[in-house]
């Protein structure tokens, strides 16, 4: 019997997925770190390969022993990627004394850059991206926990951002142009963003609850609607006079969230990160320590049990989507008030990255911060790689994608494993359940393939 056996393959896949589903918390962190290392290793060879194919006058890196030249230096690329994201706290030096001649390669040493301060523009970019992704990541995560796949965070962010910009610009004359007035305007702006995003999230929630419309489809469609309606509205009605791009008027300086320590040019404000952190902790407490959070979690994990326990499934769906949308909308507020100072047509894909951030975080609010930070580092670092090396931006994009792919994949498999692979003990008849035919479910699932191959 040399033929392949679908039954055997299938059970292998099943048991593999099951193993992913049963991984513990500590293991998940370790796996993520291992995946990060592995992605760097694979990326290393991709850089080498591209560097061999590319044409350049002088080799950026020469392979020891073979003397083969490469256009890009993989060590440098990854060093700059991570070091650059922090604004270059380290530099590389090669001490002559410690480098015996019998060693084929020069050992690089890391030195601490004198005069480096964390409050630099490069690090600000990293932190700004991190902050924005905390909101969109939380937005996707809360929907996920309720068993809903919100692809619409992007649209909710667009709507929230527009509403924030419009409300703050409109109300600015009513408040004193000082710190106090600024804080009030910022609070109103964030509230407006939350309402805008919340309403935009509630729509697919209600469609799902009361018309049985799949939220994946509706949220995707609402993304387009949000982007285009916002564009037309700003183009036709709210466009700032004399603006060369489609943008609203600027939010007054005092009503923007400004930095305390970072340079004002960096578009990052510590206060915004603080708001993100507070949202994160609040969301965690909501999910784990409130009745409504319990309703939401049970709905996501076992809808039948939720129904049994008296959870109103429709209402919970609408609630979860509203909350999810509100978080996306706040992300939009922060984007306007911290980064841009106005609504502009060129809105980054923060909502879509939020999906990956959430998966990376295992849909746990507490995991969203490190996941967002990884994205922030990659974003800030990629820019520096572009500045400091000859590596084309496309290749940097490949490296970013590779790292995200590697780190997210184990979590992704874990999610699939949890959803698709029935727990053995559940299937197993002799747990004493079983209706007439004990264990038929398990039998059928495993057996199908085996029989077909026979």
């Amino acid at each position: 019997m040399s033929r392949s056996r679908p039954g055997a393959i299938r059970s292998r896949v099943t048991s593999l997925l099951r193993r992913f589903a049963e991984i513990s918390g500590v293991d998940r962190v370790l796996i993520a770190l291992a995946a990060l290392g592995l992605s760097v290793l694979v990326g290393f060879f991709i850089v080498l390969g591209s560097g061999r194919v590319a044409e350049c006058s002088t080799a950026a890196w020469t392979m020891p022993i073979t003397g083969m030249g490469f256009c890009y230096d993989p060590f440098e690329v990854f060093f700059v990627l991570f070091n650059g994201a922090l604004g270059g706290p380290f530099y590389v030096w090669e001490p002559a004394i410690f480098n015996p001649e019998w060693l084929p390669i020069t050992l690089p040493w890391l030195g601490f850059m004198p005069g480096w301060s964390p409050f630099n523009n490069a690090f600000a970019l990293t932190m700004s991206e991190t902050t924005l992704l905390v909101f969109t990541g939380l937005s996707v995560a809360v929907a996920f926990r309720a068993g809903l796949f919100n692809i619409g965070t992007q649209g909710q962010l667009v709507v929230g951002a527009l509403l924030t910009a419009l409300v703050v610009v409109a109300l600015a004359p009513l408040f004193p142009a000082n710190r106090v007035g600024g804080v009030i305007l910022i609070a109103i702006g964030i509230l407006a963003g939350a309402v805008g995003g919340g309403v935009w999230g509630a729509i697919p929630g209600a469609l799902k609850a009361y018309a049985d419309a799949n939220e994946v489809i509706t949220t995707i469609m609402l993304n387009f609607i949000a982007a285009n309606v916002a564009y037309v509205l700003v183009l036709e009605v709210f466009r700032a006079e004399g603006s060369s791009v489609v943008a609203t008027a600027d939010v007054p300086e005092y009503a923007q969230i400004g930095p305390w320590l970072f340079p004002p040019t960096g578009d990052f404000a510590e206060a915004a990160l603080l708001i993100g952190f507070v949202s994160l902790v609040a969301l965690y407490l909501f999910l784990e320590h409130t009745s409504l959070g319990y309703d939401l979690r049970v709905s996501g994990i076992q809808p039948l049990a939720a129904e049994y326990s008296g959870v109103n499934a429709k209402l919970t769906t609408v609630r979860a989507m509203t909350l999810s949308g509100a978080l996306g909308g706040i992300g939009g507020s922060i984007w306007v008030l911290m980064s841009e100072g106005r609504w502009v047509e060129s809105i980054p894909d923060l909502g879509f990255d939020g999906i990956t951030v959430s998966i990376l975080a295992g849909n746990n609010p507490l995991g969203v911060l490190p996941a967002a930070a990884l994205f922030g580092v990659l974003k800030g670092g990629a820019l520096q790689v572009g500045f400091q090396t000859d590596v084309p931006p496309e290749l940097v994009g490949v490296l970013r994608g590779l790292i995200i792919l590697f780190v997210a994949m184990p979590e992704f498999f874990r999610l699939i494993g949890k959803r698709l692979v029935p727990d053995e003990s559940e299937v197993e008849p002799s747990s004493g359940d079983g209706n007439d035919g004990d264990g038929v479910g398990g039998t059928a699932a495993v057996d199908d393939g085996g029989e077909a191959s026979a």
Binding site: E307, S309, G310, N312, S430, G432, D447, S453
Partner: protein
């Protein structure tokens, strides 16, 4: 001579469950062997081990004296073991011969084309040899379930099976088809095939088998020759001991009506009417039992009462107030406890620990909340008290629900629901999969609740259970109550007839429901409507 099949000390463990515990089984060639036991006794698991679907944790499978280690059903088939599952695995739009040869087609043109004529011929030959009345050219979807079962058997025979395992083969058959199946058994064994079939029905085992092995809680209780054993002895082996449950009648007459069901009509998930006009009144201090074969509308009736299903007609009132627009949560809050039929889908959140499961259904109850906050400390101590009182093992409130055995999961649910201090307990199969000791405990608690003046609605497929516990016993068939009887006087035969939807044609049946008690007119097909207050 070696037995055809010899299972030697098979133990199969699943997380938290021992499905088979050191089971020995020997089956002679050319005999029919019945594997008898209650649901969850481990019969199917054992056969899945024999068929290579599960690998035994311990023990060995010996076929024809040769120890085997099966990694997949493929290996088992190669060793001559075939299994016919309860749910057939046939491609319905395809013809019978196509189904039989599927995966092992005779080919021509160097394997490029299926040799249809050869395949048809082979199926026709097989069919004729064993006296199956099967036309290879019929489509599977066009033939009866009984014939489909034969196609499954043909499939196994075509692959060279000498040992046939049938999982609950009669469950899907009409009585006539069952008789035909027994004939097929005879034909097969005459020609040297060995048959093992799984059943939980005594009569089937004694009727069709040469030898019977009884499994209970994963253990082999004994193997007996059919001729040497009586049904009573077998029943005792299955259940474990004489189940003469002490009846403790209500000490006080029932009080006010707690639950009033009036002309209830409900559909199942497919939109087919499953409950056709059921009426019942359940009073304080009374256990109202519902007996009947599973799937006669009990589930839909119960779900309509507990608020998981919206009835299409009729009404449910609780303490005199109609529940039409009352949500499930409100029903819980008003004092309705509910032990659901499907504990793993509904009764517990399998991935959560017992502390989190302890508040399922009371997550908004002020007993566990301060405003919007859920107090996990109080939940934990509640979980602990349920674990302790109801003897949930292992007593670990931080373990996830899925890590407990079915019986212990059940005990936890029962405890949680009983401790709600309800006015009405709706208990569906409260002791399913629970060991004897705990069963007794749950029965005692049910009786206690009754003497505390609670109303209890009990649904169980265990006749002895409903009979011993109920004060009034309704028998449900095809969505209707065929009768509401006095469980102390009704005989098993009468119950059997009522469960089959027929009316015992004597007047010894004590119909106790308000209307029928004085009126021995036979409950007709519209008995449901008559049985009302």
């Amino acid at each position: 001579m070696n037995p055809a099949v010899h299972l030697d000390g098979i133990t199969k463990r699943f997380p938290g469950v021992v499905a088979n515990d050191d089971v020995d089984l020997a089956v002679e060639r050319g005999s029919v062997h019945a594997l008898l036991g209650e649901n969850g006794a481990g019969k199917t698991t054992l056969m899945n081990v024999l068929y290579g679907l599960y690998r035994p944790t311990e023990g060995q499978v010996v076929i024809d004296g040769e120890p085997r280690s099966f990694n997949s059903p493929r290996d088992a088939i190669d060793a001559g073991v075939g299994m016919i599952h309860q749910h057939f695995m046939l491609v319905e739009p395809m013809r019978i011969w196509e189904n039989v040869v599927l995966g092992n087609e005779p080919t021509e043109w160097y394997g490029l084309r299926v040799d249809e004529e050869a395949a048809r011929e082979a199926v026709r030959d097989l069919s004729a040899r064993y006296g199956f009345d099967v036309d290879p050219d019929d489509r599977v979807e066009d033939v009866s379930v009984g014939v489909q079962q034969r196609v499954e058997i043909l499939k196994a025979l075509y692959r060279g099976a000498d040992i046939l395992i049938l999982d609950e083969p009669t469950a899907v058959l009409t009585p006539q088809e069952v008789e035909d199946l027994y004939d097929v058994f005879e034909e097969l064994t005459d020609q040297g095939k060995t048959i093992i079939f799984i059943s939980h029905k005594l009569s089937e085992a004694t009727h069709a088998a040469d030898e019977i092995t009884v499994l209970r809680n994963g253990k082999n209780v004994g193997t007996v020759a059919t001729d040497d054993v009586t049904s009573e002895e077998l029943a005792e082996m299955m259940v474990g001991r004489e189940v003469l449950m002490e009846r403790s009648g209500a000490t006080e007459p029932p009080g006010d009506v707690v639950l009033d069901v009036e002309g209830l009509v409900a559909e199942d998930d497919r939109g087919v009417e499953a409950v056709s006009g059921v009426s019942a009144q359940i009073r304080e201090g009374e256990v109202f039992g519902i007996a009947g074969v599973d799937g006669n509308g009990q589930s839909q009736l119960i779900e309509s009462i507990t608020g998981l299903r919206t009835p299409t007609a009729g009404s449910v009132s609780f303490h005199g107030e109609p529940l039409d627009d009352v949500s499930r949560r409100e029903r819980i809050d008003r004092g309705m406890a509910y032990i659901p039929e499907d504990r793993q889908a509904r009764g517990l959140v399998m991935e959560y620990d017992l502390t989190q499961n302890a508040v399922l259904g009371s997550q908004h109850d002020s007993a566990f909340t301060d405003g919007p906050r859920l107090d996990w400390d109080r939940a934990a101590s509640h979980a602990e008290s349920v674990i302790e009182q109801y003897d949930v093992r292992p007593p670990d409130r931080d373990a996830t629900a899925e890590s407990f055995s079915g019986g212990n999961q059940q005990k936890f649910i029962v405890g949680r629901e009983f401790e709600r201090d309800p006015d009405l307990v709706v208990a569906t199969h409260p002791t399913r999969g629970v060991d004897i000791g705990s069963t007794e405990f749950i029965h005692d608690r049910l009786t206690e609740l009754r003497s505390e003046g609670k109303a209890v609605l009990l649904v169980s497929s265990k006749l002895d259970e409903v009979q011993a516990l109920s004060d009034r016993l309704a028998v449900m068939h095809d969505g209707e109550f065929t009768g509401v009887v006095d469980p102390t006087t009704v005989t098993e035969e009468q119950l059997g007839l009522l469960m089959a939807g027929e009316t015992p044609d004597d007047d010894t049946v004590d119909y106790v429901d308000d209307i029928e008690s004085g009126d021995d007119s036979k409950p007709t097909e519209s008995a449901g409507e008559e049985v009302s207050a």
